[in-house]
């Protein structure tokens, strides 16, 4: 992986680039290489389980919110890979066996989306929300994305709806996990 990273950095770094631009390319390639590998594994498993479309829909719904809502992040890429396999292909496959009433699903989606909008954004220790301007910027994006996501939810065929809900629920879970971690750390800090 390191070899591929270095090769790509050398290939895409031009003489005309400034030092900051070089850093951006290096950082961008490092992220892309690690992400492409993870996506390949997750989608290969999804393909084997026969739930590729379902995983894609769940992933899109999750990432649309994830990018602006933040929330819990695994500490290492390996943990993230295991988490992604459990939370996407396997959970999606299990969801295909669950039958849920359409009205109940709409209410669940709306409620979870409202909760996400209320709780987000939740920065982590390593990648925090920088200041009020940053928080406001993210909050505005969250409102817009939540409205668009619910609009898309209303337009999709009923067989695919549970996977949009699953994506939203996963993001809600990440937010709650991060809030729990922060509360636990505060309590431990106060006790010590």
């Amino acid at each position: 992986m390191k070899y591929i990273e270095n090769y790509l950095v050398n290939l895409f770094t031009l003489e005309s680039h400034t030092q900051t631009e070089r850093l951006k390319i290096e950082y961008g390639i490092k992220l892309l290489v690690s992400e492409v590998g993870r996506l390949f594994i997750v989608y290969s498993i999804a393909l084997l389980l026969g739930c590729l479309l379902e995983v894609m829909i769940t992933h899109i719904a999750f990432y649309v919110l994830r990018q602006v809502c933040f929330g819990f992040h695994f500490q290492t890429s390996r943990q993230c890979l295991i988490g992604s396999i459990l939370l996407f292909p396997i959970l999606c496959k299990l969801t295909t066996y669950i039958k849920i009433d359409g009205t109940l699903l709409s209410i669940l989606t709306l409620l979870s989306l409202l909760l996400v909008v209320y709780l987000a954004p939740q920065g982590t220790k390593k990648h925090s929300i920088l200041n009020t301007a940053h928080r406001d910027y993210l909050k505005k994006k969250i409102y817009k994305r939540a409205i668009i996501l619910y609009g898309i939810y209303l337009l999709l065929p009923s067989t695919l709806l549970p996977f949009i809900t699953l994506g939203i629920l996963l993001e809600l879970f990440m937010l709650l996990l991060e809030i729990y971690n922060q509360k636990k750390e505060t309590i431990l800090y106060e006790l010590s």
């Binding site: 770094t13 390319i25 950082y27 961008g28 992220l31 892309l32 690690s34 994830r66 943990q79 920088l130």
Partner: protein, 49 residues
Amino acid sequence: MNYLKTMIKNISNLIMSITQNDMVYVCRMFAHEEELPEKLKKEHPFYKG
């Protein structure tokens, strides 16, 4: 050859814009143990201090 050079330049710009976009959201999409380099943090539109 020129076509290849232009293509490399375009991909280079694309990678930079991905980093720029990721920086705005403070790397939430991808980064795990990879922390944003200090110098790039200063490029963040909301970075102060």
